[in-house]
Each structure stands twice: as structure tokens, then as C-alpha cells.
Amino acid sequence: MAPAVEALAARADQQRQTGDYAGAAATLERALRIEPRQAYLWNRLARVRLEQGQGTQASNLAARSNALAGAQPELKQNNWDIIATIRRQSGDIEGAVEAERRAAGG
């Protein structure tokens, strides 16, 4: 990642940890304008939306991250973990089990 993107990602993480989700999301959007194909940033945005309780967006963003993740198995597992959580919350047990399998690296 470019230093600018790294700085923004770090800032977004701080914002997220202090509960400033809207700020964290805005910061990640700034980073994505610089590196729109950076799967890690999409994953962070998915995580922020998950913690905000915006399940659908979290799931969509995690899927977007997966589509760009290429050879980053850990990132993909993290995305599947987000997707699994959302599926379980929405009562899609079968889908959640499948996502959990992939989150576990299966």
C-alpha cells in the first residue's frame, strides 16, 4: 500500500476502535479513492459496517473484497467470517455454515 493509504487505513482503525464508525468509513473511502482495488480496504470497510449493524452492506463489501483479494487467503477468510456472521444473524444457517467453512480455510 502507498504511504498515504497506509496512513489513512491506520487512522480509520483508530476511529473504528473509538466507536467513530462514520469517521472510519469516510477515511476508508478516502483511501479507496487512491487505491480502489485494494482488497484490504474493502475488508476494513466491511468490518466497520458490520460493527455498525449494517449487515447487507457489510456482506456486499466483504464480497467485493473477496473478488479483489487474489492470493490473500487470510483476507478472504476474514471476509468469509464477516459474511458468515451476517448469514447467521439473518437466519441463513446453511449459508452461514458454508461461509464458516471457508472462513476456517476450508
Binding site: 502507498a2 504511504p3 498515504a4 497506509e6 496512513a7 489513512l8 462514520a22 469517521g23 468509513a25 469516510a26 477515511t27 473511502e29 478516502r30 479507496l32 479513492r33 487512491i34 480502489p36 482495488r37 470497510l45 459496517r49 455498525q52 449494517q54 447487507t56 452492506q57 456486499n60 463489501l61 464480497a63 467485493r64 473477496n66 473478488a67 479483489l68 487474489g70
Partner: protein, 812 residues
């Protein structure tokens, strides 16, 4: 040290001034008071009424503040593409001034390829950008390095303040830059009081001696020659909308001034006056208040004004219509110098300063405090997005601050491309200059942010916005939608699935429909991808009929078309009409690997105090599998390398991989190109407003505009990397990718047929012939059945207010 004007703020002005004040006034007023008292209850009620009016005016919505619209802020970071010219352009839009000393915020100096900037502080809703000294190395059109101008600490990222691109004015076209009391420069205040109201801090709202003096003078002259209004009275006068001068009105004003003075602090009144006073006119926009006037006349903030400038502002407020510095510089200079003398007389400035100040030119500049007005097409888009969420009156009065996605650098490139290309296109068709019209939209791929909009060949003309409102048949731009629909069913279709390019005879509402390929040839069985690359009509119709016309129509809506689509077979060849902005949405979805991001022109709206009212955050929705989107992109890349858009190979820098599709409609009435690089979607349209044929196909018209735009943008090549689940295969002698787990290696039966004859046939079709197939309906008889067309037109009328922003999944 100039003498201070004595202040007696009187913290508790609780005495009842009417009685005492009137004691100063002559017999006439005393008699009036007696009459009023005599009237008893009625007069009391009237006083209460006036008091209410005063309070309502003063405390209520005293100032309708226009909404301010900003472009995206420029982010400066190592590695971004940014030329010296682009940076200077941006700083110019921000009103930064070249100053080697960097004496104040908002200055810069460029030497060679190194820029020194002293930024302005700006509070964004998500963070504060402090004022900074920057040193930026722009060698070779790229930010090599950005560091603190003082201690050379490298900076990862700096966000400049955003350029003001428009103001949405209150109903009476008032504009204002609101100031607080402490922002009023002492020199301005002293001068104002010296000239207009020397006893401001002493009197009770009216200045009885002044009134008597004025009355005497006016009586002597037989007309009004002198006013004696205090600042308070002048402020009250502004509460009225008319300027009539009657005795009744005068008395009301005086009474209200007294009430105002009783109720409010002198400084509050002074501040209100400074923000309210009428100081000039800019077209139909009234210039109210010193804050705006300072920017309007001098392009400076109020605290940057020098002595002659201060004197001029105070000088003209007596009668801004007559004392117009642009029209009557001599009169205004005379008046200004009178004020300067007064300043010296009251020791606000020294004699020497006064003499020097009187020598200075007026120094007014044209075009100050005016939002550029340069982006009418984009602003229209912004207003439509706003209209969905705000009442018009709030937009005009609440001082909202609207942060948009407009990228002025991108917009400048698009405008330059349009300006240069359209005259050439006119000439190639021997059309009178100005015949052809155009529209272009640029968005980001991943976010769906609208970066630039051009609504016509004169981008500064705020008329018919073709980017949003030219709802025209899209021709072959529909084809990627149909092929994507097919490829998202991998159990049925791969890139090499044999498709029949054979004649179709279809009875539609009692009329035979016999579409044709452009060159009237028939290619037999062809692999699916080639039918798209070569834009074969018959193959596309056969494929579309297999998929189902209504399914294709519904899918076009999934991708981003907003309006209702008439699901007739002719739709498969692009009889469906869309404006460029909706085409951009559909192509954004394809470009982003099937993830639709609703197009946005606004990032957030803040209230006057900077709190977010509405955010329009990045949201995505997967509407088609990434694998299918990738395969479609793969075929669309070949439109450029070997299909109808090969012209781009000469036009674009090598290495800039792009994908797209040409579109041409019946008799060459519409010329389209829509496509994308790795990070930008661009849609361009060329045609005539009278909808007459113009002799340009997608390849010879819109493609040229598109290529010029894409070649000038800061953009990334389309990434050829396939997503998981896609594998390359060796079918048909090419590496044609397919979706893992599904058959895709079988070649189309007729796929062995070389593409060369088809190209030759197209090339041989004559100079006026497009290399791109048109909607192959025979004129008249074989066109889409008339009853449906009428229906479509009706739907279109009903859908006129359709917004591209109807998407319902904006989270926050």
C-alpha cells in the same frame, strides 16, 4: 494611536427610553406620543406588535444563507499524477495567490517543478485540516514528494480546502458571507461609525438631534437631501421589503429602532448591520454585508482589506446603485477620498496614511465572490440528487454546505476534449459549425462517484443537459448487457458457446420484424464472444430471444437503468432509450466486476454549523457474478483490440488497456461509445438535437470524443487479472477464459470462420458507412410496432422526473 471611539455598552439598558427619548424630541414627536398614549389599548397593542416584529426579524431567520456547493478537495500524496499546470489550475480555483513570501494562508509560489504552498485551514466534517506550509515536488507530472515547508518532515497526505463551485441562492437572490462581531476589523468599525453614526454607542436607537438637523435641512430644500438614520434605524429599514419614504414608515422605523436598541446589545446590532447592509449588485444577485462585499469587490477576506479598500466599502453603502465602483469609478473615488479624510479627521488613520491611501487606485476586480458557474451540467445533477432529500426553501436559506464528487481536473480534460473534437466532427460531415451536439459522463469505477459531466458542446452553457436528459436509443450499447446476462448462466453459456447469426423473422404486434446485420451478411454459427466483439445483430437477437426479452429488460434495470423499459424484441438491438448518465450506471456495474455502486454526485451535506445532515456513503451491491462480469469485460477489451473500436489503439497511450462498446442507431441519428479503464467509466454521445441523421457511427463519432477524453485522464489500465473461479482455456486457438467447473472449451461451429472477411466487408461498405452495425430495422415497416412506441413515449413523459439516484440502499 488613533482615538478610540468611546463605548458605553450599558450592560443594563433597562430604563424606558421611549419617554425619556421623546423628551429630547421636539414638540411634534411629543404630541405624537401623547396621541399614542391617548389611544390607550390600541397603541399598547401596536407597540407589542412592533416589538414582536423586531424580535422575529432579529432573532428569527434574519439571514437566508445560500447553500454552498464544493468540488472534491484535492488530495496531495506521493505517487499521484499531478502536473504543475493542474496544481496551478486547482489553486486558481481556490483563489490562492502567487506570493513568494507566502505572507498569508491561501498563497503559493511555483519554481520549476517545485511548489511552495501555504494552505488555508479547513474543517471537514471528518477532520480538521490545519493551515500548513507545504513543499511539493512535481517532477515529471507526478507528486514525487510532499513535505512540511518548514522542517521538511515528509507528509503522507494533505487535503487542500475545496473549491466553491456554486451557490444556491435564497429566493431574493441574496448572498452573504456571515461575520461574527470579533471578525469585524476595528478599522472598519471605526470608519463606519465615523461616517454613518458617530453616536452609535451612546444613543438609544434614534439620534434626535440628527433627526432635527435633517428635518430642518430637508424642509429648507423642499425635498429629502439629508438622512439622519442611525445604524439601528438603517438596520430596521432593511426589515422591510420596500423602500418607500413616508412619514408613517419613518415613525415606525424610529419606534422599532428604539425597541431594538432596548432589547439588544449594541454589538449585536452592529454585527447584524454589518451582515445586512446592502453594498451592491452582481447581476440579479444582491451583495449584502461587508463579508461578501469584500470578496465581491476585492476578492479578499474582510481582514485583508487595506485603508482605501475599507474606505471604499464604507463610502458606497450610502447608495450602492449610484456609487458603483465598476461603472462610476471617479465618483466612487471621490466619495472614498472623502471617507479617507474623515478617517484622518477622527484619527483612525494618520494624515500621512490618508494622503497615501488617496493615491491608491480603487483596486476593484471583476468576478470576485462569484462561484465559478463553470459546471452547470454537474450542478444540475447535484440539484437533482438534493431535490430527493431536501425542500427547495431549505436549500436556499439554511446555509447548507454541499460536498460533491466533481473532480475539476477531470472535468477540465473532458471539456477540452469536447471543445476540440466537436468542430472536427462537424467538418468531417460537412455540417454547419455547431450542428452536432454531445454529452459525456465520467464516473469512478469502484465508487460510482460522478467526476465530470458535460451536457453539450459548450460546457459552460447552462441549457439543455444532454448528459441527464437526452433520452436516446442506445443502439449496440445494449449488447454487453445481453451477453453478460447470458454469461451469468455458466451452465448454459460460455464465451465460446455457438450462437446462430441467422435471419430472424418475428411477428411483433401483427407486424413482421426482420432485423439485419449492418452489412446485410449472415455469419452462420459464431462463438458468443465474437458476436459481441463484431457486434453481430442477428446473433444478438437470437441470443436475446433465448434469454427472454423481459429477462434482458429486467437485467438492464438491475445494472442501473432507472426508467421503465419496454420489453419489445427491438430492445435487443438498442431501441431502448436512456440518457448517458444511466448508461454510465449500467457500465459502471460491468466495470466494477458486477458490483453496482449507485452513482453519486454528493458525498455529504452539512448544516451551517458543519454538522453532517446527510451522508451518501459508498455502497455496493452485487448484481451479477464477478466471473461473468470478467468474461464480458474480456470480450469488450477485444472490441478495442479487434472489433469496432480499434481506432483507440492509435489514440491511447500504449499500456492503457480499456474496454467498451460502440453504439449507432437508425440512419446514424445517435453515435455512442461507453467503456472503462481500470478506474474510470466514460460514456460519450454525439447526435443532433433535431434527431436528424448526421452520418456518424459510434466508431466515427462518439468514439473520437471518448478516446480524446480517456487519453487525457489520469487513469489506470484495466486489470487483466481474472477473479477466482475463472480459468483460461486454449479453445479456438485463443486463450478464451471460462468459469471453472463449467464446459467452455468447445468452439462455436462457425467460429472457425476468420474474422477477416467481416472486417473487409465493413471496410468496403463505403466512406460514409460505419464500421459498426446499426440497429438493423428497415425504415418504417419493420420498425418497432407504432402502438408500443407511443406507449414508450408516454412512459417517458411520466418518468421525466426519474432520478438516477433512486437506489434505496444508501446506508449511513
Amino acid at each position: 494611536m488613533p482615538k478610540q471611539i468611546k463605548r458605553h455598552p450599558r450592560p443594563a439598558r433597562r430604563r424606558r427610553p421611549p419617554k425619556e427619548g421623546i423628551g429630547f424630541v421636539g414638540f411634534a414627536v411629543r404630541a405624537l406620543v401623547l396621541v399614542v398614549l391617548g389611544a390607550g389599548l390600541a397603541a399598547g397593542l401596536y407597540g407589542i406588535h412592533l416589538d414582536k416584529v423586531v424580535r422575529a426579524k432579529f432573532e428569527g431567520k434574519r439571514w437566508a444563507l445560500p447553500a454552498r456547493v464544493y468540488a472534491r478537495p484535492l488530495e496531495i500524496y506521493t505517487g499521484r499524477s499531478l502536473s504543475v499546470a493542474e496544481l496551478e489550475g486547482e489553486l486558481g480555483r481556490l483563489g490562492y495567490r502567487d506570493d513568494p513570501q507566502l505572507a498569508r494562508p491561501g498563497t503559493y509560489h511555483i519554481q520549476g517543478e517545485r511548489a511552495a504552498i501555504r494552505t488555508r485551514a479547513f474543517r471537514y466534517w471528518d477532520g480538521y485540516e490545519p493551515e500548513r506550509y507545504l513543499s511539493v515536488d512535481l517532477s515529471g507530472g507526478m507528486v514525487r514528494d510532499v513535505a512540511d515547508g518548514g522542517d521538511a518532515t515528509p507528509l503522507a497526505l494533505v487535503r487542500l480546502d475545496p473549491a466553491l463551485i456554486a451557490s444556491i441562492y435564497p429566493t431574493h437572490n441574496e448572498d452573504r458571507v456571515l461575520l461574527r462581531r470579533e471578525q469585524l476589523p476595528p478599522r472598519l468599525v471605526k470608519t463606519l461609525l465615523a461616517v454613518e453614526d458617530r453616536k452609535f454607542y451612546q444613543h438609544h436607537g434614534v439620534d434626535p438631534k440628527g433627526i432635527l438637523r435633517a428635518a430642518y435641512e430637508n424642509l429648507r430644500a423642499g425635498r429629502t437631501v439629508q438622512g439622519a438614520s442611525t445604524l439601528t434605524q438603517q438596520l430596521v429599514k432593511n426589515f422591510y421589503l420596500t423602500q418607500e419614504r413616508t412619514l408613517e414608515r419613518k415613525l415606525n422605523e424610529a419606534y422599532m429602532a428604539v425597541l431594538l436598541d432596548r432589547r439588544y446589545d449594541k454589538d449585536e446590532i452592529l454585527t447584524a448591520y454589518a451582515n445586512e447592509v446592502y453594498l451592491g449588485q452582481d447581476g440579479n444577485r444582491a451583495i449584502h454585508g461587508f463579508g461578501l462585499a469584500s470578496r465581491f469587490y476585492f476578492k479578499r477576506d474582510i481582514d485583508e482589506l487595506d485603508i482605501p479598500q475599507t474606505a471604499m466599502l464604507v463610502g458606497i453603502l450610502k447608495g450602492p446603485s449610484e456609487l458603483n465602483p465598476f461603472r462610476k469609478p471617479e465618483r466612487v473615488t471621490e466619495r472614498r477620498n472623502l471617507v479617507i479624510d474623515l478617517m484622518a479627521h477622527h484619527r483612525i488613520i494618520s494624515k500621512a496614511e490618508a494622503e497615501q491611501a488617496k493615491q491608491a487606485p480603487l483596486g476593484v476586480v471583476e468576478g470576485g465572490a462569484r462561484p465559478s458557474g463553470e459546471y452547470p451540467a454537474f450542478i444540475q445533477l447535484v440539484r437533482r440528487q438534493l431535490r430527493r432529500d431536501y425542500r427547495e426553501e431549505d436549500l436556499r436559506s439554511e446555509g447548507l454546505r454541499i460536498f460533491t464528487t466533481l473532480d475539476p481536473l477531470t472535468q477540465a480534460h473532458v471539456e477540452a476534449a469536447v471543445r476540440a473534437r466537436l468542430p472536427k466532427l462537424d467538418r468531417t460531415r460537412r455540417l454547419p459549425a455547431g450542428t452536432l451536439e454531445t454529452a459525456a459522463v465520467v464516473t469512478s469505477v469502484a465508487q460510482g462517484e460522478v467526476l465530470a459531466v458535460v451536457g453539450g458542446r459548450d460546457p459552460e452553457y447552462a441549457g439543455f443537459n444532454r448528459a441527464l436528459d437526452a433520452v436516446r436509443p442506445i443502439g449496440s450499447l445494449i449488447k454487453p448487457v445481453i451477453y453478460l446476462k447470458a454469461l451469468s448462466q455458466p451452465q448454459r453459456y460460455s464465451l465460446v458457446t455457438p450462437i446462430q447469426d441467422k435471419p430472424v423473422n418475428l411477428r411483433v404486434a401483427g407486424v413482421m420484424w426482420r432485423p439485419k446485420n449492418y452489412d446485410h451478411s449472415v455469419h452462420g454459427t459464431v462463438p458468443l464472444y465474437r458476436a459481441l466483439v463484431k457486434s453481430y445483430n442477428l446473433a444478438t437477437v437470437n441470443l436475446g430471444l433465448d434469454l427472454g426479452v423481459s429477462e434482458v429488460a429486467a437485467f438492464l434495470r438491475d445494472l442501473g437503468a432507472v426508467r421503465d423499459i419496454d420489453a419489445v424484441p427491438a430492445m435487443l438491438l438498442g431501441s431502448v432509450s436512456l440518457p448517458p448518465v444511466e448508461v454510465a450506471q449500467a457500465y459502471q456495474t460491468i466495470a466494477a466486476g458486477g458490483f453496482r455502486a449507485p452513482l453519486r454526485a454528493i458525498r455529504e451535506v452539512l448544516d451551517a454549523s458543519g454538522r453532517p445532515l446527510n451522508r451518501y456513503p459508498l455502497a455496493v451491491e452485487s448484481v451479477v457474478p464477478a466471473e461473468a462480469a470478467y468474461l464480458t469485460q474480456w470480450a469488450m477489451r477485444r472490441v478495442v483490440t479487434q472489433g469496432t473500436a480499434t481506432w483507440l489503439n492509435k489514440r491511447l497511450p500504449s499500456g492503457l488497456t480499456v474496454a467498451g462498446k460502440t453504439g449507432t442507431t437508425n440512419d446514424m441519428r445517435d453515435s455512442w461509445f461507453a467503456g472503462f479503464s481500470g478506474d474510470k467509466v466514460v460514456v460519450s454521445w454525439v447526435g443532433r438535437d433535431d434527431n436528424k441523421p448526421m452520418g456518424l457511427s459510434g466508431s466515427t463519432g462518439a468514439l473520437r470524443v471518448w478516446g480524446d477524453i480517456m487519453a487525457s485522464l489520469d487513469t489506470q489500465p484495466l486489470d487483466a487479472g481474472a477473479p477466482d473461479g475463472v480459468v483460461a482455456s486454449g479453445a479456438c486457438g485463443q486463450r478464451v477464459p471460462y468459469i471453472d467447473g463449467y464446459a467452455g472449451s468447445a468452439c462455436g461451429g462457425g467460429g472457425g470462420r476468420s474474422s477477416a472477411p467481416a472486417v473487409a466487408a465493413q471496410a468496403g461498405a463505403g466512406a460514409a458507412a460505419p464500421a459498426d452495425p446499426v440497429v438493423a430495422q428497415d425504415a418504417g415497416r419493420a420498425a418497432a410496432p407504432p402502438p408500443r412506441s407511443r406507449q414508450e413515449r408516454k412512459d417517458r413523459t411520466q418518468q421525466r422526473e426519474v432520478s438516477p439516484f433512486l437506489s434505496d440502499f444508501y446506508g449511513n
